[in-house]
């Protein structure tokens, strides 16, 4: 299983030159998102035919319960509020595919999996705030609800092409989990088509996210 994850990661890195932090891009835009935190590793590659929708492939590996999801994901921009100095969005996200576990009694268990959730954000050039939630169904392997709050501030405002640096905090809430609140302070670096987030939660587990948009 671990071999499978590493292979997917390498494939994603290899193909990153061909693909293009939002769930939806511009018409014809490709996005690659690699997300790694204390609970899971994920890869999401999507294509946007319009600025209001995207579809693509999503892989997730939940380390504690040792199961993976292979999904086709759809993201829909329901509403965008464009203001002179800010932008706000409301998205619906959903995925459908397969769950696989190699843990204990679920050894080599396969089944239908899916998730659905919302994401809403507001940002200007100084502040950013985002709320997202999701209900995940992974056949008989697992079912759970998660939500998160993500916010940050930049100490300086740069122009297009500059390196933008953000000081950020992500709070994950997983009601079903034993440790159900996870606080992850981190840095966000943003330049052109690259977005990198690096940090660690309060127990020291690393967060590493990378987004490339083409």
């Amino acid at each position: 299983m671990r071999k499978y994850f590493y292979l997917s990661f390498l494939v994603a890195l290899f193909y990153s030159d061909f693909v293009k932090s939002r769930p939806v891009s511009y018409p014809g835009g490709l996005t690659l998102m690699l997300m790694n935190n204390s609970m899971k590793n994920s890869l999401h590659a999507h294509y946007s035919p319009t600025a209001k929708a995207s579809f693509g492939y999503k892989f997730e590996y939940w380390r504690k319960n040792q199961f993976s999801l292979n999904l086709i994901q759809m993201n829909n921009l329901i509403k965008r509020w464009n203001k002179p100095d800010s932008q706000a969005n409301f998205y619906l996200k959903s995925g459908l595919g397969n769950a696989y576990s190699d843990k204990g009694r679920f050894d080599s268990k396969n089944g239908i999996a899916g998730f659905a959730g919302i994401s809403t954000d507001w940002e200007d050039q100084r502040y950013f705030i985002q709320y997202a939630n999701r209900y995940t169904y992974a056949a008989e392997i697992d079912k759970f609800y998660t939500q998160s709050l993500h916010f940050g501030i930049t100490p300086y405002i740069g122009d297009y092409g500059d390196i933008h640096t953000w000081l950020m905090m992500k709070i994950d809430h997983k009601p079903k989990f034993k440790k159900n609140f996870i606080f992850t302070p981190h840095f966000r670096f943003f330049k052109d088509v690259h977005l990198l987030e690096v940090g660690a939660d309060l127990s020291g587990k690393v967060m590493f996210n990378y987004i490339f948009r083409y």
Partner: protein
């Protein structure tokens, strides 16, 4: 030496003339929702695909995009507004001179 000087004068004149003829018109669009590099990239890609467009410059601080057109080419303001809407943004104003 004199010939070399004359050559440079001629070359400079020709170069200036060619640049003048190469430049088309320019418009400035004031865009709502332009807050990050991904937004700038979306506008560059969506508008830059149009054959009439020679180049685009995105000013993220002032939320202005400068669109330079190819010689004898131009887009109606309504088409520029539509291209910006297709990229996911909206227009406050389009002018031929920067404010």
């Amino acid at each position: 030496m004199k010939n070399l000087f004359l050559f440079f004068i001629l070359f400079a004149s020709f170069y200036k003339y060619s640049l003048a003829n190469d430049s088309g018109s320019t418009v400035y669009a004031y865009v709502n929702g332009l807050v990050c590099d991904f937004c700038a990239r979306a506008l560059e890609k969506t508008i830059g695909k149009n054959d009439a467009v020679k180049s685009i410059n995105v000013d993220l601080r002032d939320k202005i995009i400068t669109i330079n057109f190819n010689e004898n080419k131009k887009l109606e303001n309504s088409i520029i507004e539509q291209l910006i809407a297709d990229a996911g943004y909206s227009v406050r104003e389009i002018t031929s001179e920067k404010k």
